[in-house]
Chain length 251, copies 8
């Protein structure tokens, strides 16, 4: 409910087209649907630019199916993340057109894809084991209407692999850099470009990687200016933020 | 040295205008100046879009003065962060036009400010004690050529203070949200807008705030999509990243 | 054994109705029953206002059944928490009237429920995945004789979902707010009410949530005054504390 | 602005006593005063039951004096915490009636104290070094209109010191238990009473006390049901929460 | 090899009963047996007062069987800790007289028990779930020749359960106090006795117990003087240390 | 108040020599003196074997002087730890015979030293910087009536320095081993003796020593059986515990 | 591409044997092969002295087989670490000559072993449970062409087991010391030798070993000069670094 | 005392040139000098290849002067680290030839420098603020007889600064890489060379650098094989280890 709608409502009160009690109620009537265990934020696309996304961890399969089915009634694409193959099978029974990205563990349902915006989002991963998180980011950015490019396995211990694609790197509008272990890649990439770099630490590693803490701290302390960071393994968040940034292009 | 310059150099070799030895040397000649204790990255503005910034912590006053003086020979603005009043006094003797922001502890030297870009960067702080970090962000964004707006002391325990300025909040191109203690403000702001939100945890707090860890973790775990995070107290990094994002506007 | 009983005992000694040795023994005779592996605190209802609760983690099924059976001989309700379905099946064989809350993993056995006290306890959860902990709190408060209301999935990234029920929120006597991830909801709720708020961090989240540490720290650093905190996932403790607070109502 | 006020406003619009534009503005006019660096929440007493409290850490002395002077224009008591003697001297020049608690580092300004409510709040400290935090809690509870009792230096390694005052302990409406080092006192107290216990960990200790972490963890893991916890050294928060709980008495 | 043996060896050299080469070798001949993957310290009983104990975690079953069989050739009792039922089954096939303590997960093989020393070692546990660790301590102390007494489920939230057995508590020579969660029991016990108290934190708990860290820190910060601490869940270490202390009795 | 005194009291009640009210009061009359900010545990020597010790950190100088003066009225030695030279100067004005150990920061007041017990307590330190903590332990053990020996600067990187004094090491009744950095010395010493070893981690070190955490963890994980641990820098606790253990000698 | 190759390329341009476009491309042509999910660094042996090693964790079995098969086309040995038996079975089907070290979980494929260098690398382990990590180090050093010796189960609690082999210890060129728990062995070894010591902490232990953190911190704080450390359980890294050091021998 | 000396001693016993008692004593006579608070390891040069180094932190100035004076009686160079200017002034009064490195805080006393060995040790630092630690490493390596080269301020965010000196980097025998913040430089350097790389994390940084933890973890998790790590800010340890490695050159 924006200011114009508020004016209209108040005008209706002023001209007695609406009673006081109805106005009070209307001011409280909010754009969500209550399923009991979840309050679906159906107008989120208006407020945040993209519909609510279903984060599957900690939700029961029936809940996920019901939420996705309800969201699928709208026109916008529906995205579910951290979806196991079993969850996908259940969703597919209700939404046969849903598609699954096995590596990135995402489910996408869309009647027709959103039109692509101009700037390219490049997803870079340091190692092969970081690819699942990178794919989650790439799918998220793609379904939100962004052109997406991928550059995988270009860790800093073999710099020439990255430098070989310097042109692709420097021509992206927004970069997502995914790395586990010491998480040094965003610093190196950040030093090579003048576009925003979103760093995604992953839990790839062992011992003193502490489930991604080493990479997270490395990225937060990056000596390259302009690097921002999301949660460990949060490919979705990186893709979403990159899309918001890319939306600025051309405005 | 970009691809065109490389082509010219190779062409000079091909047409024998340049000897082999000179070409080898030229390919190694790099755009920095070696002061012994520091290698000034003079072409950084070309590569990263803004000249090197002087981070004063851990540097000696004479080093800071020499570096700033050297950078000031160029046309670009020069920014120093984490500068004590003593450092500023020393810098001022060499660069009398330098200006000091007492709260944000920044020194700016600029012959003429960069022209402003279209999108507005809004800096929001949760509490009065977070203002120094917010100012560092605001000065950085300003000196890099962005219109900057400020909204201070709007913590989540008194939501109406934030909601009173909802329109300002929703009309910014990029938002920087600075908060200590539990660091909840970026989640609330992130839920209200469709633009990129950069969260800056501060070390404001005591006890279990652990010097900003509580705020940092809160922001990394934000339930609002699209929030990215920088290091604790890193106002500069937030301002720099916001500027890179704002640069996408209108491209 | 309270002061009156002590006086009676001493009076019995004074009037020689009780021997010295018996008095010494009586002073040592304590209101618990020793099962070898456990000392049941049978008079706890007198001392603490509610009988001992059976925390099932780390106890063997036979032990749980024996303890519950023994406690069930009294008049008070018996509550077991963190009970798996298998434990419930075993308990049910001995106490067929026992009831199981699948989400909250609680077993309740009560001949007749305690009469309800006046103030309402409201249990709020930030997300769908926080519901198991919220249910543990709700069941605990309910079995201890409190009217209980529930408000689920009202996280801070969609404030309107919470504000839509502001009246319910502000009319509760005590509020329990359950949240994982960044744990910001108690700060927002605490800023809206003038009643005690008990914050329950949950282990819901991933990466830098560190099993609930992020939410715990967020709640401990809440900028809203009057918020107190219990252990991660400790729905029972929140329900119990809320009941103690609610007992003050009308005194 | 409550529902009644909203109804009145809407009625004024309906009957054309107020223009649309004025109504929109009024709905945005919020009960705070903007000092630039701080937004004073002047209606907080209505919403939260007690006026805003001035937390002095991280604020400049002039800011504190201005904020307190502004708040002192109302009828409610004004409380400042974490105030150094220097801050108090400055405040006293503007508000000569202000009083300072040296141990608890609090400043109180009140034209006349609030009337006392019925239930007693008992503040218990484990050691002599915990007294500053205990005093902050006691002053806060006192200025908010609660009868306050104190019981200091009754740590668990000499249980008889606590048991000697068992009657005082068991007759309080709400208990605040302040302890550093291992923080075990709230568990022992919680096992002796049937009233709410608020545990306050302090940073008293050395080595593996880690600035209060040991006490904090001990209290969060308390085996006594009904114990809730506030931040390390947060005497104010404990006093405030105890007052909210005590407000339930007699309702 | 003690000083007397050294003198004898040197005397043999002096009187030419032993060659130089043999002497050099003898000085290097050390009292262990090399199994390749393990060097059995067969003279440990002489040096440390009790033979080497087999810690089963991380060893393969065949290795455990071979080591125990080899140690069993001597006269001393053989103890294995952290032994699964499967390991016990395998050991039993080679050493049919071996005995298994199911709760404490220990295997004991002894031709005849060591004679008991005078002082009693009392093992106290806070809760039912702490019993496995308490049993490991009790079995260790028992097999090393100490009279052992047990007092279980006497946590600090119900002090009367402990005080009921105060006499038993105060008559022990050495006390082992086992507790998880907040680990407060050793402080309370330590305040009641004048004998050494060994505190054993356990990993019993959840959330902010962090696998025993809360209990460990609580014990390290105990306000009761004379409490020393061993590793989390290290019942064996506590029993062993208690035995060394008890050996001082009567010397 | 022991069992005999209880019997006498009850007998006085039985024979009407004491009224009921007096008996109730007497049962509550406890052996401490209340100074307001401190409750002096005057009978501690009876209960714990040594009078209360004054831990100076966090106490005001006047408080320390008053407490020591009050304790000095008894016959037992009085010990204060963590005492600055300033505190000592103040104490000396009231108790001129008090003695100060500059390295160990202890104050001792004793009319006549306690008679020495038979077993020797050996205090070993790894490095020169660990000596202050070692001295605190040595003074504590000495004032409690134990023969004390010292062996300093025998860290594990130069084993021969320790082995040179093997005989002294092996002839002690109890050993206190003080070490910072990696804290390996207790493991080595523990492997050489059959007496109890108390390990004291110190905050000596830098970087990843984390103020003594590295040494603390090293000692808790010692591969030498029979090692128990006290808090970081807790020389007093080690000396006190060693004394309790040494008391067993000859019983 | 080294300087000579660069000169040749530039000469070809100068003499027009190569076009400008081809030169630009050639400068970008880099020595890796892109498999999509991995960029094989085929010239790594030239640059780093040993071909790329396959770290199996987080890679799919098919990926591992394809990568190893591709690397096996060269002349150099191929090493895979952290390989499960299942992975080995799959690799064996493609490379029947591959060999598996069950304890160290390594796969080695080599047509003919590299010739051995002169200096010996000695791998020492503290306990039996540390052997898997020690074997990973030993296999790595062996396949890289180093003579390797092993000395297992010589923990510091039984020093004589280590001292018995002092000569072997002191004659190695480089030492790798593997230890869990308190990780003290590298300090002791480092004090006995004048060669480089590489310390490898392992996750062997429980409770306060925190998955190897205790050992890691112990080693980083080693009081023996010249000890360097690798990640927890990183036997491969230790073997690799030892080999690089051993390469210096004889240069 | 080596094997030959042992043989001679035994031979003296055999031929009765030495009494038994003298032999026992001689075997215990060890090569250190006991100053009471320190045991100087005078034969360390024989055992470890370099005399004992004086670590000044935690030592009193007089102790440092006495230790250095005593060590200066030998022929070897004497090195003191972490020496304040005040300490140097005191040392200089006793040893006027002593030299001070202000940045690296080292004192060196040497009658004549050790002859230089062949291989070069290159010390690289990421930033200007890391230079003090780098200098400590460089001075240590220099005084131990190694040719030392320095390359400062070549952080990964400006790769060209490092690549400009690739030849110097690749021609060193051993590399020491010093970096704070995210500590990524050793990974990049390690990927470019085939020599051993010693990584030194520094405490340079703020916020989530946590005093060097971020850099430490980054280096421990380096994706470049062959990197080993020392403690935070441990320039001395890196220089010492590098020297031990360089000693292998030419053997």
């Amino acid at each position: 409910m924006n200011e114009n709608q508020l004016r209209e409502l108040l005008d209706a009160v002023r001209t007695s087209r609406m009673s006081l009690d109805d106005a009070v109620s209307a001011l409280k009537m909010l754009p969500f649907e209550d399923l009991g265990y979840a309050r679906l934020d159906l107008h989120r696309a208006l407020r945040n630019g993209f519909p609510e996304v279903v984060f599957c961890l900690g939700k029961q399969t029936e809940q996920i199916v019901e939420i996705m089915t309800r969201l699928a009634r709208g026109d916008d694409p529906v995205l579910a993340t951290r979806a196991s193959p079993e969850v996908f099978e259940a969703v597919k029974r209700s939404l046969p057109e849903a598609e699954y990205n096995k590596l990135g563990r995402t489910i996408v349902f869309q009647r027709k894809p959103l039109p692509k915006r101009g700037g390219k989002i490049l997803v870079i991963s340091a190692g092969t084991a970081d690819i699942p998180v990178a794919e989650e980011a790439a799918v998220t950015a793609d379904v939100m209407g962004n052109p997406v490019d991928r550059l995988y396995d270009v860790g800093v211990a073999g710099l020439h692999r990255l430098l070989a694609d310097l042109e692709r790197v420097q021509s992206a509008a927004v970069l997502i850099v995914v790395a586990g272990m010491e998480g040094a890649l965003p610093s190196v990439v950040g030093g090579l470009v003048r576009q925003p770099v979103i760093a995604v630490p992953t839990s790839v590693g062992y011992g003193a990687s502490f489930g991604g803490i080493a990479a997270l701290l490395g990225m937060l302390n990056s000596c390259a200016s302009g690097v921002t960071v999301v949660n460990i393994d949060n490919g979705f968040g990186a893709g979403y933020a990159a899309s918001l940034m890319n939306c600025l292009t051309g405005k």
